[in-house]
Symmetry: C2
Subunit: 723 residues, 2 copies
């Protein structure tokens, strides 16, 4: 079989020519990149491969920034809560912050731009009731209410880019200058960004692809007084703030933002907060600015005959690849880090670019590539997890990062990645461009909708959090499942109704968060729209505390649809008679292992004998279904990721959709395997998601079954007529 | 040793004379009572013992009630939630109710007295938009909002007393007439109640004690269409309602109650609901009426030279032994059922009666007393649990109920109760009247305060509920602990401040319930009052979701005091660095077994390095302490009852109070044992709460220790000077 080539990007480094050539050949790579800490030398740049070069727009130019400190990026920060134990109170508002990262902005009038809030009443303290000591960074409040808590929301300048700071501190870079982040919204910075790029392109003629890392505003990342991470929000617009931005916002929108609109009680509009109208306006405002400015840079790149690629991270804030303005930027490509199926889909689904690229794990760094460690298991885990999503919607390229010289010392790893890159190209050839068979169309409903496609429940770009994994598991399961997935916001529903082609709407999350929806569910229009739709045959799947808002004797506002509600303590006096799980049910009939609802949910109970209880233990319902008119509600207490839970989810979706007769279509009986069919190309694939041999029945498009045996991780490609 | 006698009540029955005499002698009993299903005959009534006779005021007189059906007791009931799937909706509001118990009241104008509510908007539907079909018990709504949910709140007549109904159905009493409950607020019923009592007293000259079971209004107990319990609230005022009552209320208070004030979204003002001002007014209104009417009956009893005793149960609603009006009734005694320490204190602390009596378990019924079963373990468990509370504040008498002839067949049981009755009298002689040593004064703070003394977290008189046992355990621990316990409401604090002698305030319960306080914590005055008090040296103990109300960036409004808060998902982006439990701490230094927080609480985290984490597991803090000025906050995730948790609570209280140096005073080192000292009588007792032999150090009032060995369940009485 002749070696396939292309669609793979390698990191390389100086003085590594011969080995780079060998690796280009073995992995079939056609592009080379630099990484943090590596540079490509001229010999390597002359190889037969595209050259990607990392480019920073808004940092790494201290020669400019140091002479324009008034154009540093800004943030609104909130002090700790401070209790007034007497009638006056001093708030050392910088306490807990790292003064090498941020310094108070005393250039703009604090009386105008800052806010002191009595958090016990939520009232703003009038500006004439406090004074500021700029020497000691103290706000002094007069006539404080005793034993009320107060906070100061204050503007700072960011004087150190947080990513460089992290690397600087972690790697003990000593005297290396701190890279100062400047704000391209300001006049001098805006001009500089363009001029410098033009110059840089002239100086870097070998660069084929300018890899923007990224544009203008870093996600919110603030350090504490021990120089450790204090607050990190990968989605946060914190660092986009400036007095200029606030003034422009007011001119455009006709109202001024308060500091509290940004600070939000110290939550800083986390994606878990139901977004306020003001914050949504502000996001839109920033996005339009970022798209406009980024477009100018991309045009410069194009004029120089190069490609423009965006790294989905670091200074990506405001680009919002699923937002309204992203496609105006005119980027050629987006590259992002792949932690699993969800982050793969997050990259591969981005609309309006020529190609997408996923950087796979492990990163070629000494934390994995050290003597005595085998990097293959991490690589295989990463590959098999992300592969499920590739089978649905592939990225156009894959790549790796770090020190190639490190990876090169692990021959078994080099072999494994040779297999991975070949397999990737095979998948891509089969899958690319066609539409895989989808048994259902599923909409994930939350406060964000499409703009946060594949981004729900994420903290800090897909870290595992106790409060999230039971919902992230559902997203991970969906990322590789044979269903269409779309994302809807409550606003979408109000403005456009429920799209006609949706089979099941999923609402999942903890009560009060943007993902379950909180006070959105107080809206009679929303609630009745969903009831009407399910009643007419739709499916509603609730996970955790879906549609939770306490009103009218219900906690789950669609309790009538779900057939379950959560006991808050107010109906303990009402007898709960429905405690028997059904002996047989479509949704769990093939479950062979104990249930795992992750963090699960307490105190959920069935409302009537019509509720089909699937699992009941410890005095609680954790899984149930319920007919509602022509449709169904299904409830699951949580869904951490596993093959068994993926199966549970798929059965729940088919049941909710009333399409159980269509379940065994392009279907593998063994839960470790999955089937994807590609009618456009006339092929289908049976994949073994596990690292063990598996035997499975495979059902074709007509529901006819045949048995297959698959080796560890194997994919079998077949013609559709062949079964 | 000569046999002690008295303070014990026995049930007896007809044709059981000789054995009754024997049992009177062996158990030292001095009173005899009838029970459900038993009557005393003349021979037995002639024995040397007081005779108690059960008396029903408002049921069991069908000869009267049947001729005054318009004076039946009434309730407001709520229909199920009904979804309008079109523009009109029929609500069969009686669905799910038992028509042999309740029938709709069509005598009073439903348009005036009923309420149809759109539960999706919480708006009342105008009366001209619905009609009523009295034949089919249907409310028909015109112009319904499609896919809104509607409920009907409607008045019914209760035509069968629920306790008699339960016994009737359970025991298959067939044609035995249904006892009709009548309402003494109505003219004829009010007169009848008095006249009949006068007559009855004449007819029952042997009765020494009229045991009222009870007065006028049964706790809310509603059955479903299968004649099974549907709703039971031992505290519920549901059956006190009538059109007459509502009219009198309006005249007196100047405003009319809505049905919703009683129905409360179908929660019927459960004690877990933060009470509304209207419901508190209504309770007060009912209490005044009940006290006035009951006083009239008690006076009749006294005029006949008898004693009046009230059974704390059944028709006890409105008497509120801890309320403002109870003492006006003039009762001689209260008797109640003892399930453990909490219910013992609930009885023994009732103010303003000459004596209290506890009916102990097991009840002499065939469910326990059957061939092959040993009733002793249940008796011992009940006795040892309640005994802790007796040591603090004894009831004046104990007793048993049921068929004496059944118990008589179990000689080992008869022996054991002989021991119990002797031990009770010994305790009583030592403890009665004096004030036991109290190391601390503790206040339980909730929405109810004193009126629900020892009644917090109770559903249906101390049944075990998943949602309660982790808080009831704290109450049970307190019931036998060497601390003063008082109950305060938020209103008490607002009106009178925090009493000077309180060492620790406890707030415990699930968020939003009357026991943690819900929206009460939005009040800046309350929050700052408590902060000020702790800051000056007070102790605040929070259990579960104390002071939980989401506001100002806090969920626990006293998070600054407790040093912990609960993660709602909004601060996931904020790093939580405080995850190390302290190696040594006063509160848990003697814990030798795994923690048991019962239902526990998720997602609680420490706010700063000042928080003293006592237990950290599964990414959560479950026990912590925190200095606050001169005082302390302590947090516990839950406290199911056990000797180890009693110890944990006591240490937490002493730590919160800042009195750790006073902890080992009248103290037993072994957690299975406790010490109670009675300075007034110069004695102290060391008790073994377990059924195994125990060895323990005993610390006296000066903190000097001596070792004791105690047999199973033993109490050693010593002179204070003897150690």
């Amino acid at each position: 079989m002749s070696k396939s080539r292309g669609r793979v990007t390698l990191p390389s480094e100086a003085n590594f020519l011969k080995e780079t050539e060998e690796m280009l050949e073995r992995w079939g790579a056609d592009a080379l990149r630099d990484s943090d800490g590596t540079k490509l030398d001229d010999e390597i740049k002359a190889l037969n491969a595209k050259i990607y070069t990392t480019y920073f727009v808004a940092r790494g130019h201290n020669e400019f920034a140091e002479t324009h400190m008034e154009e540093c990026q800004q943030l609104y920060l909130m002090s700790r809560h401070n209790t007034a134990t007497g009638s006056s109170l001093d708030i050392p508002f910088m306490d807990g912050y790292y003064q090498e990262q941020v310094i108070p902005d005393y250039l703009h009038d604090p009386k105008k731009w800052w806010e002191v809030i009595d958090r016990t009443t939520q009232q703003t303290v009038p500006a004439d009731q406090w004074t500021l000591d700029q020497e000691k960074h103290l706000v002094h409040i007069r006539n404080a209410e005793e034993f009320h808590e107060y906070t100061v929301s204050f503007l700072v300048y960011a004087i150190w880019d947080p990513t460089q700071m992290y690397n600087h501190i972690t790697n003990n870079w000593g005297n290396k200058p701190h890279e100062i982040p400047f704000d391209v919204r300001q006049t001098a910075s805006g001009s500089f960004a363009k001029e410098y790029l033009r110059k840089w392109l002239l100086e870097n003629p070998d660069t084929d692809v300018v890899r923007f890392t990224t544009f203008f505003y870093h996600f919110t990342l603030v350090f504490n007084n021990h120089a450790k991470e204090k607050y990190v929000d990968w989605f946060g617009y914190g660092a986009t703030v400036s007095v200029k931005a606030l003034e422009e916002f007011e001119r455009e929108y006709g109202y001024a933002l308060r500091p509290e609109d940004i600070v939000d009680n110290g939550y800083y509009n986390s994606t878990f907060r139901v977004p306020t109208p003001a914050y949504l306006d502000y996001m839109d405002f920033v996005q339009r600015f970022v798209a406009k400015k980024a477009k100018e840079l991309v045009e410069i790149v194009h004029e120089a005959g190069r490609e423009a690629m965006m790294f989905l991270g670091d200074n990506w804030i405001g680009t919002e690849p699923y937002g309204k303005y992203f496609q105006n930027i005119g980027l050629d490509a987006v590259v992002g880090s792949v932690g699993g199926g969800v982050s793969l889909r997050l990259i591969s689904e981005i609309p309006g670019v020529k190609y997408t690229e996923g950087r796979f794990l492990p990163y070629f760094f000494p934390d994995t590539f050290y003597e005595g460690n085998d990097p293959c298991p991490e690589a295989a885990r990463n590959w098999l997890t992300a592969r499920r999503a590739l089978m649905r919607k592939p990225v156009d390229r894959i790549g790796y990062g770090g020190y190639l010289s490190l990876a090169y010392r692990f021959p078994k790893f080099v072999d494994y990645i040779e297999h991975v890159t070949d397999e990737f190209r095979e998948i891509y050839e089969n899958v690319h461009g066609g539409r895989p068979y989808c048994g259902l169309k599923v909409a994930v409903l939350n406060s964000w909708g499409a703009i946060r496609s594949w981004q729900a429940y994420m903290v800090a770009h897909e870290l595992r959090y106790k409060q999230c994994y039971s919902y992230m598991g559902m997203m991970e399961a969906l990322s590789g499942a044979a269903v269409d997935v779309t994302f809807l916001s409550f606003r979408d529903l109000r403005e456009h109704g429920i799209p006609e082609d949706i089979d099941v709407i999923i609402n999942a999350g903890d009560a009060g968060t943007a993902f379950s929806g909180g006070e959105e569910w107080a809206d009679p229009e929303l609630v009745s729209m969903l009831r009407r739709w399910v009643y007419a045959g739709g499916g509603f799947l609730g996970v955790g505390e879906p549609c939770a808002y306490h009103k009218g004797g219900r906690y789950f506002q669609l309790a009538d649809v779900l057939g379950v509600d959560k006991e808050l303590g107010f109906t303990l006096s009402t007898d709960k008679y429905y405690t028997q799980a059904q002996e047989e049910h479509f949704i769990n009939c093939d479950r062979s292992e104990p249930y795992d609802f992750g963090e699960s949910m307490k105190n959920v109970y069935a409302l009537s004998e019509e509720t089909e209880i699937l699992e009941y233990s410890d005095g609680e319902v954790h899984a149930a279904a319920h007919p509602y008119g022509e449709g169904y509600g299904v409830y699951l207490a949580g869904l951490p990721y596993s093959y068994a839970n993926t199966r549970l989810l798929m059965r729940a979706l088919y049941y909710a959709a009333g399409k159980t007769d269509r379940y065994q279509i392009w279907y593998a009986g063994n839960q470790n395997c999955e089937v994807n069919a590609y009618p456009d190309t006339g092929r289908f694939a049976v994949q073994n998601n596990s690292m063990e041999e598996q035997r499975t029945l495979v059902y074709d498009g007509e529901g006819r079954a045949e048995e297959y045996v698959l080796g560890p991780g194997e994919i079998l490609w077949k013609e559709i007529s062949s079964i």
